[in-house]
């Protein structure tokens, strides 16, 4: 009996396989071969070890059931159901299978042995390409995960050595000091009925008690910092560092899910984890007594970034760090200005845009900032803010943050205004989508509060949310994004640009990262998401239906990959324009990943135009 004779009688299995990509594009003999050489298992939680382990490697095709593919760190790589393949990475690379399978719902799996798979991939190039591509895509998404085992990803609970040192609010200041002395700690949590009410630190004892001559027999509640920032034990070290940077604090209470205090992490604890010292530098920036001192400290930023990026695994954190440093510079410069020129005549708030707002600043990023002040400002009082804007932006330039070529800086009158004036500007851009307005939207719709009156910024945000967003605006945004193309040619080759001295390069920012930022911004605006950070926006988009989860993951992975590649190139300084790389210096794997990333971006661009600009093109 011939082999095709058997398959003919297994019509159901054959037609199932024939419908799957890549078999649906291949001659029927290919699916026949698959069925003739396949094995079938029924996979359950109990037998998966027996069924999947062994000498022989297979290509697996899911016929029924649901299975999660889980990587070494326990993170779900992908969910597999009818028609999905797995096992091909190890067939293609010859390496051991890395991922584990978790059976969600048992079912039938077709297994093609390595020898038969090899025969098919040599016989049918389309089949080989299909799996090589699928493999690249998988690699792209695992790229980030492979590196994310550094200290910043660790859980806070792993860091806390001591148990919570607490005291009741009625206790005296003396008692608090004694508890701190006997426990050998520099801070104590004030709790009432097990709930965190405040924090008292060494510094509070000095500044709020000794220096101001307060009676040490007063209750400790009179000197505590009420409603302190805190973190949950399951959060990551990264988040703690972020909170400390943002609020310039050195003690962070740790709570469990039920909000019971468990202990305290300090900036010293975090410093012990890593050798470079961004927390210290930020602290010094906040304490600097003169602009000269600030400039000296700012000189350390590039050095710090270089040493820091060697120890940090999550490269996107470097952007957060740089933005944090810029925030600190701006806050301190503002304070120094107030010291010299007196208090502001009305409430105001610093706001930043673009990369600083998205927390993805690089060493080449320029300034994008503005000032918002209260609606009841008197005309004569505007001069104060003109000087403030000029003071902060010019010193910021001297600190190494480049001036904005597009003049989006608070030194420019167009970037200062009352809440109502700012709202009117945005309204104008949204309702008259000219190319310049589109450019403005790209920059100004990524915005974040830095310092000043937070309530003022919030009232501005509240007004912004009331501006009705029109379909026309989104269509214009989507169309605008689609005019920017990824540097991939028709035949999957890189389209390189040439610099004056003839070296070839690829611009990762404008032709990659910026497109993703633009795409994510449109979706985020459409869904009313308030974050400015691209990764935070993507995370928030998961709870909306506008993008599928796999689209979100693809964009996130591409973004992370490109950001990381860009930062690497900046650190190794390749004598190329900023944000650019020479693809020849990449490894073959990186080149493949880069092409795949560009390919995914192109698909996302097309999908975006289709969603928002249907018919208007």
């Amino acid at each position: 009996m011939t082999e095709t004779g058997i398959t003919a009688e297994l019509q159901d299995v054959l037609s199932f396989v024939s419908k799957q990509s890549p078999f649906n594009e291949l001659p029927s003999a290919c699916a026949h071969y698959f069925v003739n050489h396949a094995e079938v298992v029924y996979l359950t939680v109990h037998n998966q070890d027996d069924a999947l382990q062994g000498e022989e490697r297979y290509l697996y095709l899911v016929r029924t059931g649901i299975f999660d593919l889980v990587d070494v760190s326990g993170e779900v790589v992908t969910r597999l159901s009818t028609g999905d393949y797995f096992g091909y990475p190890s067939l293609l690379t010859g390496e051991e299978i890395q991922n584990q399978l978790e059976v969600q719902s048992p079912g039938l799996i077709l297994m093609l042995p390595q020898a038969s798979f090899d025969y098919l991939r040599h016989e049918y190039k389309v089949l080989e390409q299909h799996f090589v591509r699928a493999h690249k895509k998988r690699l792209l998404s695992s790229h980030y995960k492979e590196r994310s085992k550094g200290w910043s990803e660790r859980k806070i609970s792993k860091l806390m050595a001591k148990s919570a040192v607490v005291i009741e609010p009625q206790a005296t200041i003396v008692e608090a000091a004694k508890v701190m002395q006997s426990e050998g700690v520099s801070s104590v949590m004030v709790t009432e009925d097990g709930c965190l009410k405040g924090v008292v630190t060494d510094r509070d004892l000095r500044n709020r008690v000794l220096a101001s001559g307060l009676d040490p027999l007063m209750p400790v509640s009179s000197i505590m910092t009420p409603e302190p920032k805190f973190i949950f034990e399951n959060n990551r070290v990264f988040s703690a560092l972020h909170l400390m940077l943002k609020h310039n604090i050195h003690h962070l209470p740790v709570l469990n899910e039920a909000r019971v205090p468990l202990g305290m992490v300090t900036s010293t604890d975090l410093l012990r984890l890593q050798n470079s010292d961004p927390v210290q530098l930020i602290g010094q920036l906040y304490k600097a007594s003169s602009t000269q001192e600030l400039k000296l400290l700012a000189k350390e930023i590039p050095v710090l970034l270089r040493s820091f990026s060697n120890t940090v695994e999550d490269f996107s954190f470097v952007g957060t760090l740089l933005s944090g440093l810029t925030d600190a510079l701006m806050s301190r410069l503002t304070e120094l200005f107030v010291k010299q020129h007196g208090k502001a005549p009305c409430s105001f708030s610093w706001i930043c845009f673009g990369s600083q707002a998205r927390e993805e600043q690089t060493l080449d990023s320029d300034q994008d900032n503005g000032l918002i002040f209260s609606n009841d400002i008197k005309p004569a009082e505007r001069d104060y803010f003109a000087s403030l804007g000029e003071f902060v932006t010019s010193h910021l330039t001297e600190c190494g943050i480049r001036a904005c070529p597009g003049n989006i800086m608070a030194s420019n009158e167009q970037c200062r205004g009352t809440v109502d004036e700012w709202t009117a500007r945005f309204h104008h851009w949204i309702t008259s989508p000219t190319p310049q307005a589109m450019l403005n939207c790209k920059i100004f719709f990524d915005r974040r509060y830095i310092c000043g009156d937070h309530a003022l910024y919030q009232s501005f945000n509240a007004q912004m949310n009331e501006i009705s967003t029109q379909e026309l605006f989104f269509a214009a945004m989507a169309t605008d994004i689609s005019t920017n193309s990824v540097p991939i040619g028709l035949f999957q080759q890189f389209k390189l640009q040439r610099s004056k001295d003839k070296s070839k390069y690829l611009d990762l920012k404008t032709r990659g990262i910026a497109i993703i930022n633009d795409l994510v911004r449109v979706y985020a605006l459409k869904c009313g998401i308030k974050h400015a950070n691209t990764q935070a926006r993507l995370k928030a988009l998961k709870s909306h239906t506008i993008l599928s989860t796999s689209d979100i993951y693809n964009l996130r992975d591409c973004w992370r990959f490109l950001t990381q590649l860009r930062l690497k190139s900046q650190i190794t300084a390749q004598q190329l324009p900023a944000n650019c790389i020479n693809p020849e210096t990449l490894s073959s794997l990186e080149r493949h990943q880069l092409k795949e990333a560009f390919h995914l971006i192109k698909q996302a661009q097309q999908a975006c135009v289709f969603k928002f600009a249907r018919g208007s093109l």
Binding site: I6, E9, Q11, V40, T44, N47, D50, A51
Partner: protein
């Protein structure tokens, strides 16, 4: 049934009632057994009067169905197809290209020797195999026999469900395990369908993994 010697009686007893002989070889783990999952297409239900139209089997090794070792054979010696073309879609033209019944039975004797025979309603298929093998003086004797229909029936009874005949038909049994429906019916697709059902049944019984053959009998 004709048993010519005491030895044969013993062998028969051991084969038909393995639990009586303790854990013996039926105590081997099911994963280590080689199973032949078989289906016959028949012209009727009476082995004395009706004929075998086709025979097909798939092999299970180490818990995996190995499709490359499947066989599907048509009986070129069929005397009267009766209503069979209506049910099976096999006509006399196709049969002419088949194998002789003796050849088929010889093949079966070879493949079943020392193996475990599995059918859906084994009693029926087995009675046909025995009846026709005897015509050629052949003795076909697998080590053990399993029946997916019986396994399903006792599982349903254990769950204290009323068991109607319709619930025990192959497609109904498969649906209970979420297995896909088969559109095409022939001996080979039915033997694959039975094999998949057996894998599902075993793995649903198999909470502690290494089930023994005797647990399925």
């Amino acid at each position: 049934m004709f048993l010519s010697s005491l030895g044969e009686v013993y062998n028969f007893m051991k084969w038909r009632f393995p639990w009586f002989f303790g854990h013996g070889t039926a105590g081997q783990r099911w994963l280590e057994s080689e199973l032949v999952v078989l289906d016959l297409e028949l012209t009727g239900l009476n082995p004395a009067r009706h004929e075998i139209v086709s025979v097909a089997w798939v092999i299970i090794k180490r818990g995996k169905i190995v499709l490359s070792e499947s066989r599907y054979m048509l009986n070129a010696d069929v005397q009267s197809l009766a209503q069979s073309p209506v049910y099976h879609g096999i006509d006399e033209e196709q049969l002419k290209r088949g194998a002789s019944l003796e050849g088929i039975m010889n093949n079966l004797a070879g493949v079943l020797k020392g193996k475990v025979l599995v059918c859906h309603n084994t009693q029926l298929d087995w009675s046909f195999i025995q009846t026709h093998a005897r015509k050629f003086g052949l003795e076909i004797r697998p080590d053990y026999m399993l029946d997916t229909l019986k396994i399903e029936k006792s599982r349903l009874l254990r769950q204290r469900q009323e068991v109607g005949q319709d619930q025990l038909r192959l497609p109904a049994c498969r649906r209970r395990y979420g297995l896909p429906d088969y559109q095409n019916h022939n001996a080979l697709s039915d033997s694959l369908a039975t094999a998949e059902l057996l894998l599902a049944q075993v793995n649903h019984l198999d909470a502690e993994k290494h089930i023994k053959l005797s647990a399925l009998m």
